[in-house]
Amino acid sequence: MEFAGYDLDDGIYDEMLQPNGEPREHSRLLYETLCRLSSDEINSIQERVTRSFSNEGISFTVYGDAEANERIIPVDCLPRILPATEWKHLEIGLTQRLAALNRFLDDVYGEARIIDDGVIPADVVRGCPQYRSEMCGVTVPHGTWVAICGTDIVRTNEGFLVLEDNLRVPSGVSYMIANRKVVKTSLRRLYRSSRVRGVEHYGRLLRKTLRELSPSGRNDPCIALLTPGVYNSAFYEHMFLAREIGAELVEGRDLLVNGGFVYMRTTTGLRRVDVVYRRVDDDFLDPLVFREDSLLGVPGLIHAYKLGNVAVVNAPGTGIADDKSVYAYVPDMIRYYLGEEPILGNVQTHLCRRPEDLEYTLDNLENLVVKRVGESGGYGMLVGPHSTPEEREAYARQVRANPADFISQPVLPLSRAACLIEGRPEPRHVDLRPFVLHGTETRLVPGAFCRVALRRGSLVVNSSQGGGGKDLWILQD
């Protein structure tokens, strides 16, 4: 495979090659291996990887597309590599960030000192649709509101930046493990020589974390993974994780609350559930407390939770901390709660609720990425440079109508990694989503779901918008 003609751009960090075309030190072995492989060989590796995903049915669902109930997630066979030092930096930064976010949640649903002290405006918090007043005064075990966090991280020439904290029901970890399983066997010699750290123990760590959060006095807690059902975009992942952690995969209709305890319907009767690892949004968790038309949730679940008879992970109400407006204040939270400077920076964010930020956003739409604060998955977003004047005009009308619903950020020159496109290596923009666990302590597997914008020039890495995945190798020290 030849890298002649591989497009390097001074303004964009390439994960494998330096600006002079030489491989980065940690990617040298990969680069040299790829150079030795013939076109046929690398194509057959890619074919094997793709076929393996298809055979195993590693899929996701695209909403609004009846034909895509089981779409196979595209996967690129060329791994992205991070050296141990870079991972260490990310690990410390993510641990710090999650500690601050958990403290923030404990505070805003408790004394709300951060608001009283003027660090974050009350309306940003309490006006946020994800703020759950029902959670005020609730004490969570070990102060752990967020036990599972999937943080989106991008890299520019200036270094790593946090793009988004996903604190509700982050998904993608199953693809991280699936990517690893197939890529390491397809590039077996390279994998062995590269001394890559494993990710396959994620399930054990997750199980340990969930057990730590179970109500006290339960020796062998029963864990149930609550899924919205087979039509959810991440159903494959729900099934995968249920198996990994030895949990029952339940839907709302399988659970009921009796005498303040949660039970699931089994073939021998009703079995008490100690931990609900929920993959259902807050809105649908309990029709008695949140949306009363929800058929996905469990009536009385929040009551049982408040009594301390069941753990709900992540805790209801965590969405307030990954709201796109609140995101802008995370560096301040770190300083406020931990007395430390943030290790991982944020992307510069303009909150359209502020008049000056609104004006700036509307004046510079063609250069900005504008997002709805309540959306995720790449939906409801305008990528200025890739939009038409008509699209910008229509979007501007929506922003003017409800400025508080929008934020804007500069278009970042996301780093690129080599991908196999029609048999040739071509650079594509990437990000990474590591998964951080926190029960009584913080745990990370050295890896992440590396998302790729497979369309040439595209910056949107979401799988629902034409993105795919690739394996991320974290090297040993």
């Binding site: 298809s54 055979n55 195993e56 049915g57 089981e70 087979v230 099934m239 995968f240 249920a242 198996r243 029952e248 995969l249 339940v250 839907e251 209709r253 399988d254 009921l256 009796n258 039970y263 699931m264 319907r265 089994t266 073939t267 021998t268 009767g269 009703l270 079995r271 008490r272």
Partner: protein
């Protein structure tokens, strides 16, 4: 085990068994198109549709001695029974339903079982009746049966023998028993309608149940419809006999722990025993095969309902708390 998981595995077993049984029937039927008399081909289609309790497309099967007509009609009928999406009993739908249940219960079965089933699904998904009719349609049915056999073999060697296993096996057994009863009743009805049951027809039944050798051992080469039915219904050594399916259903049910209501679980076990007794102890003394088959069929339906109410859809008010 979660009731819904048990239900999913039970239905997975049922649908795959149904797909397999139908494939075997269709395999023999399309093989018959090559050299069997038109009348026998016609009887074969009638028997299949009658067993499925389904009307053939265009309202009925017209008997016609012209081979061309029969071949063209067979294409339509095979298409209806194999790939027709609107036919809930088509091979495609049964297989897709079996696989869908497996997809939803992937965490309860082995990874190898899932891959085995999914690979078969991916193959079948690409095909239609035109594709398989171009060469040897019987190959398609044979391959599908082989894939389901492989799945069963993989399950036998990789699946944990928990309740999920027993519910899956229970689904297999009850479906096989019910399908057999429907087929035997349809055989009797067809023979009565045409006042005969051609030798070839009985031969096809023996082949369907892989029972040729067993028949040869027990009887002479002369093939008699009553002996054929007797063998297929009551021989405990024949892997797919009705008697064996019912024995297996009772065994699998007994292996499942008592449900939330002791009386409800006991009722299910009693029903399984009663239907076993019918074939073991009543059969020899009863000449009216049709009535006894009907009774067995009704008991199988009751057994299915009783299993559902004992383990799956039970009322939670009096259910024990664990």
């Amino acid at each position: 085990m979660l009731s819904r998981s048990a239900q999913g595995l039970y239905w997975m077993g049922r649908y795959l068994e149904r797909a397999q049984h139908l494939c075997r029937l269709l395999q023999l039927q399309v093989e018959a198109l090559v050299d069997r008399p038109v009348r026998e081909i016609h009887l074969g289609w009638s028997r299949i549709y009658s067993a499925l309790n389904r009307q053939p497309p265009f309202g009925g099967i017209q008997f016609d001695r012209r081979d061309n007509y029969t071949l063209a009609d067979s294409y339509t009928l095979a298409g209806d029974l194999t790939f027709e999406r609107s036919n809930p009993d088509s091979v495609w739908n049964c297989f897709a339903q079996g696989r869908e249940n497996a997809r939803q219960m992937r965490h309860c079965i082995s990874a190898e079982m899932w891959i085995c089933l999914n690979l078969a699904y991916l193959r079948i998904q690409k095909l239609n009746i035109e594709d398989i009719w171009k060469t040897s349609p019987e190959n398609f049915y044979a391959e599908t049966v082989e894939e389901i056999h492989t799945f069963s073999g993989v399950a036998a060697t990789t699946m944990y023998r928990d309740e999920g296993w027993h519910f899956m096996q229970l689904g297999h057994c009850i479906e096989r028993a019910q399908f057999s009863v429907a087929l035997f009743l349809s055989q009797i009805a067809t023979a009565r309608l045409y006042q005969e049951s051609p030798d070839g027809d009985c031969t096809a039944l023996l082949r369907l149940y892989h029972a040729f050798d067993a028949y040869d051992r027990k009887h002479s080469v002369e093939i008699r419809p009553d002996r054929v039915l007797d063998l297929l219904a009551t021989d405990p050594l024949l892997p797919n006999s009705l008697c064996r399916s019912l024995d297996s259903a009772a065994t699998e049910l007994a292996a499942i722990a008592q449900g939330p209501s002791a009386s409800s679980s006991a009722a299910a076990n009693r029903l399984a025993g009663r239907v076993q007794a019918l074939i073991r102890y009543e059969w020899p003394d009863r000449k009216d095969r049709e009535t006894i088959f009907r009774q067995i069929g009704e008991h199988c339906r009751d057994l299915h309902n009783q299993i559902m109410s004992a383990y799956i859809d039970y009322g939670v008010e009096d259910a024990p708390l664990h």
